[in-house]
């Protein structure tokens, strides 16, 4: 499947580069629709390994890359379903999204997250599966999950720890603060910073450079320098699912979803 047009994501294979576009309003919230479409891509990834060398993930929406998990859908699921069933659904969702994220992380293609604007929660976690993050000057990163009484659940903590170390993870996770691209480059999260609106062009230029090298060598290098912390990722699912069972989390979700406050994203 060299191209796909979905309601949340679309992709196209052009000159050996798969360009995966996120385009679900309002800000690429990641719920069941997003996941089912992402699973189509991850299922197709092995078939791309001969015809492609790179994968670029970017957003077509002005708001940014992604605001993360679809909290409204999650809240509706908890509110309208018997508790045990809802918690089983949450675990199933997390296991599925971990499989998809792991597939992106492990693919032999070189992966580039091309981000701008909001890069929050699950959106940040999606970017962290990639080999490189290219950001424009509007990008802003955040793990706001503690505000809801949970931790990032799509693999963010083990991957951020893998890439940057524990001290950075503690700061971002425990304060829930957002930070700009200058900080992101200082701590080594972002490999290229470009002008507003120029990230996709920079990612395409980078992908063209990658095409010059032998793919087997690039894949071997990637496997060597980017180990996947499977054990910690599984632990993360267990911790997140335990936290979702707490009434305080459900109350925090309700407060967020029903809030008319102009600042629900601020801690």
């Amino acid at each position: 499947m060299h191209s796909y047009k979905g309601n949340a994501i679309s992709w196209e294979l052009v000159d050996g580069v798969i360009e995966l576009a996120l385009h679900r309003e309002p800000c690429n919230e990641m719920g069941t629709l997003f996941l089912s479409e992402l699973e189509r891509l991850t299922a197709a990834l092995p078939s791309f390994e001969e015809s492609a060398h790179a994968l670029i993930i970017y957003s077509r929406l002005a708001c940014g890359f992604s605001a993360g998990g679809d909290l409204r859908e999650l809240y509706q699921g908890i509110r309208t379903t018997e508790e045990k069933t809802a918690l089983e659904g949450i675990r199933d969702f997390h296991q599925r999204i971990h499989r998809a994220m792991n597939a992106l992380d492990a693919t032999s293609l070189t992966t580039l997250a091309c981000v701008h604007g909001i890069v929050f929660g699950g959106g940040f976690e999606l970017a962290l599966t990639c080999d490189m993050i290219i950001a424009d000057k509007t990008a802003r990163f955040c793990f706001p999950e503690l505000r809801l009484g949970i931790i990032p659940g799509f693999g963010g903590i083990p991957r951020l720890k893998r890439d940057l170390g524990n001290a950075v993870v503690r700061d971002l996770l425990l304060t829930g603060r957002s930070f700009n691209v200058t900080k992101a480059q200082q701590i080594g999260l972002v490999s290229q910073v470009v002008a507003e609106g120029a990230a996709l062009r920079a990612a395409r230029a980078t992908a063209a450079q990658l095409a010059k090298f032998d793919r087997r060598t690039a894949a071997a290098a990637k496997k060597f320098i980017k180990p996947i912390p499977y054990e910690e990722l599984q632990q993360e699912i267990d911790i997140v699912c335990d936290l979702y069972a707490r009434p305080t989390v459900q109350a925090a979700l309700r407060k967020f979803v029903e809030s008319t406050d102009a600042q629900p994203y601020l801690p």
């Binding site: 930070f179 200058t182 102009a262 600042q263």
Partner: protein
């Protein structure tokens, strides 16, 4: 070193340009959420521009409860 008034003026200039409102319609004591018609995500995009312009890092928890330009300028001033 900028004065507080200069910082406030520069914030008003940047906010007017970013959200395409007439500069003269903004004043220091305005509630920027209401006056600019923005939500919290858009406020964070303003914060990103302000951090770049003033070359500061301003943790967003320091902005909790801040809704007017004058107080925003005070917070930035402490980081200059």
């Amino acid at each position: 070193m900028r004065t507080h008034e200069q910082t406030t003026d520069e914030i008003l200039d940047l906010a007017a340009a970013q959200f395409k409102v007439p500069r003269e319609s903004l004043s220091p004591d305005d509630d920027f959420f209401k006056k600019l018609g923005i939500n919290s995500l858009q406020a964070l995009s303003l914060l990103t521009r302000l951090e770049q312009h003033f070359n500061v890092e301003l943790p967003d928890y320091e902005l909790q409860g801040v809704t007017d330009f004058r107080t925003l300028a005070e917070r930035i001033q402490t980081r200059l």
